[in-house]
């Protein structure tokens, strides 16, 4: 009986996978991206519904349908509600937290597989691997969430012998897992999971706020890989085709996330390993004296400069996100354009706390995306710009990156110092995340506009309205 059910279920998984790939492909253009995610969402809904219905009808050996339904409704409702009510500015930590949930689910699936199927060496091996990566992903994502949410210091947390200790925790944890599988004793799984969760926490501690674009992306890739490994472990069990769907979707995400991670690290001219283990920004560079002094300026004077400019380039950074200044920036751009000034936005790939963070904030404010330019696209334009307005960006505009011997050496930066005038909006005289003096601030063509980004841009807007 039910001869048609199994092929129909397979068909649904095949379709779901096709729509996942098309959904990601649609991300290559803002015009199609939204349609793509809606299609992928529909495919996911059908795949989950079909999985549930198949279990209730086809595989008589499976139980717990009530619990499954409750779990889906509770978890789904929580995720939906939380993601709906959260402010757009909290997006980086939301991505981190929902990614962590996926990693946790992958770890928990592996745990059930290990408890029920520890005697099968293949299943046990694959599940152990899935459990390792899933546990590291959820623990690391939670730390990333706490740092991004500001519930934990975002500076790197370091202690002597950190890397050997972390490595030992990982090795001993994996050892317990292998021991459990070899002796087929589930008791050893407890220290296995505890140590791996601990390793995930320890791994994320020394990673600072400005390195978050790399880290969020990496944990995303890790969760994808954990899901794929769980899929491998499930292909021989009941409803094995769900396993194939997990292998494909998980690998897809693993590859995509790895590529994005590498792109982010490259944008800082550092290796992924250096980002993870370098504890960048933990120590302050000493001894490099910078010639000259910082020269303050008032908002009214900046407004006049910009009103009579031909071209203004805005270079935003994390400070704009913190001050939530993007709406004021949009007003400023509109006013300047009304006066015939060309306004462009220069976006550094790692400005902010996640890949593409600045693009999202400016899009939220309603700035057309054809006004936003990558570093490569706009680099030659800085010498033509009459005014470059740097809003809460620091290390990504520090010309020290072009100087040998600096900690930032080799990092591709926005060459804002080549503009005729540079105005930097900054809360105080402190250093950037990397703990390095910004040589830009001491240049002759640079003036400092001290204050909260939203307040200062608001003053510029007010001054421009008067003139």
């Amino acid at each position: 009986m039910n001869d048609w059910v199994s092929p129909a279920v397979d068909g649904v998984y095949v379709l779901a996978v096709i729509f996942f790939i098309l959904g990601l492909r649609a991300m290559s253009s803002p015009e199609t991206a939204r349609r793509g995610i809606v299609q992928a969402g529909a495919a996911m809904l059908v795949a989950v519904a079909v999985t549930f219905l198949t279990l209730t009808t086809l595989h008589a050996g499976l139980t717990n349908f009530g619990l499954i339904a409750i779990g889906v409704v509770v978890g789904g409702g929580l995720g939906w509600y939380w993601a709906r009510v959260v402010q757009m500015t909290a997006m980086p930590q939301m991505v981190a937290v929902f990614n962590g949930m996926g990693g946790g689910a992958a770890g928990a699936i592996a745990a059930v597989e290990l408890l029920t199927n520890l005697g099968n060496p293949t299943t046990a091996g694959l599940s152990l691997a899935g459990a390792v990566i899933g546990s590291v992903s959820i623990a690391g994502s939670v730390i990333a969430f706490l740092k991004l949410q500001g519930w934990m210091r975002s500076k790197p947390i370091v202690f002597p012998g950190q890397q050997p200790v972390n490595l030992a925790v990982l090795a001993i944890g994996v050892g317990f897992g292998a021991f459990a599988a070899l002796r087929v004793e589930t008791l050893w799984l407890l220290p296995f999971f505890l140590l791996l969760l601990g390793f995930g926490v320890l791994m994320a501690l020394p990673i600072g706020g400005a390195d978050m674009p790399v880290v969020i992306s990496l944990f995303n890739a890790l969760t994808g890989i954990a899901v794929a490994l769980d899929g491998f472990a499930l292909v021989n069990g009941p409803l094995g085709d769900a396993g194939y769907a997990m292998v494909i979707a998980g690998t897809l995400v693993g590859a995509a996330g790895s590529l994005l991670t590498i792109l982010m690290a490259r944008a800082m001219n550092r290796s992924v390993g250096n980002v993870l283990f370098g504890a960048f920004g933990a120590t302050e560079e000493a001894g490099v004296a910078v010639e000259g002094q910082m020269k303050p300026i008032e908002a009214d004077d900046v407004a006049v400069m910009m009103a009579y400019a031909n071209e203004v380039i805005v270079a935003p950074g994390y400070g704009m996100a913190v001050a939530q200044a993007q709406q004021k920036v949009k007003e400023l751009a509109d006013l300047l354009e009304a006066k015939g000034v060309t306004v462009k936005f220069a976006i550094h790939p790692v400005a902010g706390r996640m890949p593409g963070h600045m693009n999202v904030l400016l899009a939220e404010a309603g700035i057309p995306y054809d006004r936003l330019f990558d570093r490569d696209e706009i680099d030659d334009e800085f010498p033509n710009a009459d005014v470059v307005l740097v809003i809460g960006a620091n290390d990504v505009v520090n010309p020290a990156a072009r100087r040998a011997g600096s900690a930032l050496q080799g990092m591709p930066i926005l060459d804002v110092d080549r503009a005729k005038n540079v105005i930097v909006i900054k809360r105080g005289q402190g250093k950037g995340f990397a703990g390095i003096e910004n040589e830009l601030f001491y240049r002759d063509n640079c003036r400092m506009l001290y204050g909260d980004a939203q307040a200062e841009v608001g003053k510029l807007v007010a001054a421009l309205k008067k003139s």
């Binding site: 995720g79 689910a105 491998f232």
Partner: protein, 100 residues
Amino acid sequence: MAADLWTALFIAILAAFVGYEVISRVPVLLHTPLMSGSNFIHGIVLVGAIVALGIARTTLEEAIGLVAVVMGAMNVTGGYVVTERILAMFDRSKRKGGAP
């Protein structure tokens, strides 16, 4: 290794190349929705969680399976809503984004 596993391995290798090719074309502008969207897609872990809870027998297994289902479901809906909200802001036809 069982035949099914070899099949899965072949599929995984092909999927990795597809992932790499598809992502290489995504502009910097859309890196956030790309990350958030792929975050949603690994929410397929929910089907695995449903199977895991389905095979669970002891109370401990059921508890862990339930945790997997709840987390997987959060991954799916949260990942979807976040991605959709971000992309809504890039939508030219609908200029006002942000608040739900």
